[in-house]
């Protein structure tokens, strides 16, 4: 562990919350990397909006994880004082931005899952999670719509945009299996009526993806080998660099108020 890292008592419920929070933070951070460098001003605004939505979701979820864990950890402890092996996010969201097509495809594949996920979570027995879900669901609806519009533009636009979008889909597709993964702990949280079984979202997710890709004149990639490991802290090499950058001040000047 990096110096100053916190130890989290990862009960199934705390893990469940951290997994969702880490997805949102890492993806929000990735979107924030675009700031000042987007292809057009309207898209600067949209990418920042989506990034802000996700960072907001992460903060709410970390706050709740802190309350559930009851060990005095706040949102910044979770975000800044865990190293990559402590992070529980999907491999999909930590993948690098690449070109605009890759960022949009990554966002779309995630949002097409997160939208029905949060909608279903509005019925969670945990009132705080249900409230977080109600807000997140509205936000993710916008993400799906915005990304879907772009995928259609890029798929239909020029030969170059089409080629780039196909490459992004091909490269990112193997990370989508992890969206539906559950472990023992998750099953307990689902059985308690706090979480929901992601398997129930497979059909709606595929329907959204297939519908948008068809409109874009693109094919759904063939099923094949799926990557995983993010949920237990076995990440790609990209996450460590992201965290080194994000955590720099908290690590170099520990314990300060900012």
């Amino acid at each position: 562990m990096a110096s100053g890292s916190i130890r989290v008592a990862e009960t199934p419920f705390v893990s469940y919350l951290l997994r969702r929070a880490d997805d949102a933070l890492v993806l929000g951070h990735r979107l924030s990397e675009w700031c000042g460098h987007a292809p057009m001003m309207e898209e600067e605004m949209a990418l920042a909006n989506m990034g802000l939505d996700l960072i907001g979701q992460a903060r709410a979820l970390y706050g709740h994880a802190g309350a559930v864990e009851a060990a005095g950890h706040d949102e910044d402890d979770f975000a800044y004082l865990r190293d990559e092996r402590g992070y529980r996010n999907l491999l999909l969201v930590e993948q690098r931005n690449g070109d605009f097509a890759r960022t949009i495809v990554r966002q779309f594949l995630y949002a097409a899952f997160a939208e029905p996920y949060w909608r279903a979570m509005m019925a969670s027995r945990d009132a705080t999670l249900a409230a977080i879900a109600a807000k997140a669901e509205k936000e993710m609806t916008y993400h799906v719509r915005h990304c879907a519009e772009w995928i259609v533009r890029l798929g239909d636009g020029t030969a170059e945009s089409r080629t780039r979008t196909i490459a992004a889909l091909t490269d990112l597709w193997p990370f989508t299996g992890e969206l539906f993964e559950v472990d023992e702990g998750d099953r307990a949280v689902i059985a308690d009526g706090i979480g929901i079984d992601p398997e129930t979202l497979r059909v709606p997710w595929r329907r959204t993806v297939a519908h948008v890709l068809a409109e874009a004149g693109l094919e759904v990639p063939k099923e094949g080998f799926m990557r995983n490991g993010g949920r237990i802290g076995r990440h790609s090499e990209h996450l460590g660099h992201l965290l080194a950058e994000m955590q720099y001040l908290q690590r170099s000047m520990p314990g300060e108020n900012w």
Binding site: S32, P39, G157
Partner: protein, 328 residues
């Protein structure tokens, strides 16, 4: 703000012959504090001055995203990260309103952006300085947004309606940015010795460039006479600079920080803070392209523009295809 009257336009030579009576009528409208709207008559030089000023302002908002954007991924807390991302997004929004205001004068956003990327158009000198520590984000909000407010509040009464209205919207957000920046500084000075040192260092580096934001001293300021007559500019560069110093000195004292000017003293007679000599040679060098970050800023803007070209082309191609399909 962010318009420092940097381009000397050869207006006099290009001035078209306009009927004296129409010009007099235009000036009467200005003197009566009427707003000039896009379809109203306006002298060519008035239009040209506004296009230059509004586009410089728009470019400054966009280039200004870069120094602060430099810290979004390294902000020290999630609250600060979200606030900074939202702030930089606001600046982009300001750029959008301002390009839209410029477009009402008959110039396109694309033309203006080309002028920025070719180096023909200028943007505020302040954004050619680097953000070297987190405290710079506090200092920019406090001082740079603070200076922007000083300049922009009078622009809310600018004679050109679309610019004035854009400024009203922008000023509300700038004052929020300024408070946010000051609050970052406050957290630092209330923190550890290392944090206080970081805050003082930021003030040391940003103070003089911020004073330069108001543009050359009145004695050397081009464009001022006509802009004043047209009620585009209501205060001189030096007047605005003085207002800024007067407002900022007490704020620095409250923070317990020292303004890096040994000549700074309160003048009992004038009721203003007298400040030391500004290094105008540094200003000229930054404007000439030799500031610490000019090359980096332009390279970043050009790269974003070039990297995004295929995306913009794809959007246009799709729109064109959709129109054809809809017509079929």
């Amino acid at each position: 703000m962010y318009t420092q009257a940097l381009n000397a336009g050869p207006e006099a030579a290009e001035r078209t012959i306009e009927d004296a009576a129409i010009l007099a009528r235009f000036q009467e409208r200005i003197d009566a504090e009427e707003r000039i709207e896009p379809n109203d008559f306006m002298p060519a030089a008035y239009r040209k001055t506004l296009i230059r000023q509004i586009s410089q302002h728009a470019h400054s908002e966009i280039v200004g995203m870069l120094p602060e954007g430099n810290w979004i991924t390294r902000a020290p807390s999630l609250r600060r990260k979200a606030a900074l991302l939202a702030k930089v997004q606001d600046e982009c929004g300001h750029g959008l309103y301002l390009y839209a205001a410029a477009e009402t004068l008959g110039v396109s956003r694309e033309e203006l952006i080309d002028q920025l990327l070719s180096g023909k158009a200028k943007y505020s000198s302040i954004f050619n300085y680097p953000t070297l520590s987190w405290a710079d984000i506090g200092a920019i909000g406090w001082l740079v947004d603070g200076a922007a407010i000083m300049n922009q509040i009078p622009l809310c009464r600018c004679s050109y309606g679309p610019y004035a209205r854009a400024m009203i919207r922008v000023c509300k957000e700038e004052s929020f940015h300024q408070r946010q920046g000051y609050e970052i500084m406050l957290a630092l000075v209330r923190g550890s010795e290392a944090q206080r040192e970081m805050a003082q260092d930021a003030l040391n580096r940003w103070w003089w460039p911020c004073l330069m934001m108001f543009g050359p001293p009145d004695a050397d300021s081009r464009h001022s006479e006509a802009s004043t007559r047209w009620k585009i500019k209501r205060f001189s560069n030096d007047e605005l600079r003085q207002k800024f110093v007067d407002a900022t000195v007490p704020q620095a004292r409250y923070l317990g920080l020292t303004i890096p000017d040994p000549d700074l003293r309160f003048n009992e007679e004038t009721g203003h803070w007298d400040y030391g000599a500004i290094d105008w040679e540094e200003f000229r060098q930054v404007i000439a392209g030799n500031g610490p970050c000019n090359a980096d800023r332009m390279a970043a803007r050009r790269k974003a523009h070039e990297d995004g070209a295929w995306v913009r082309e794809a959007a246009c191609a799709h729109a064109a295809k959709s129109r054809v399909r809809a017509a079929a």
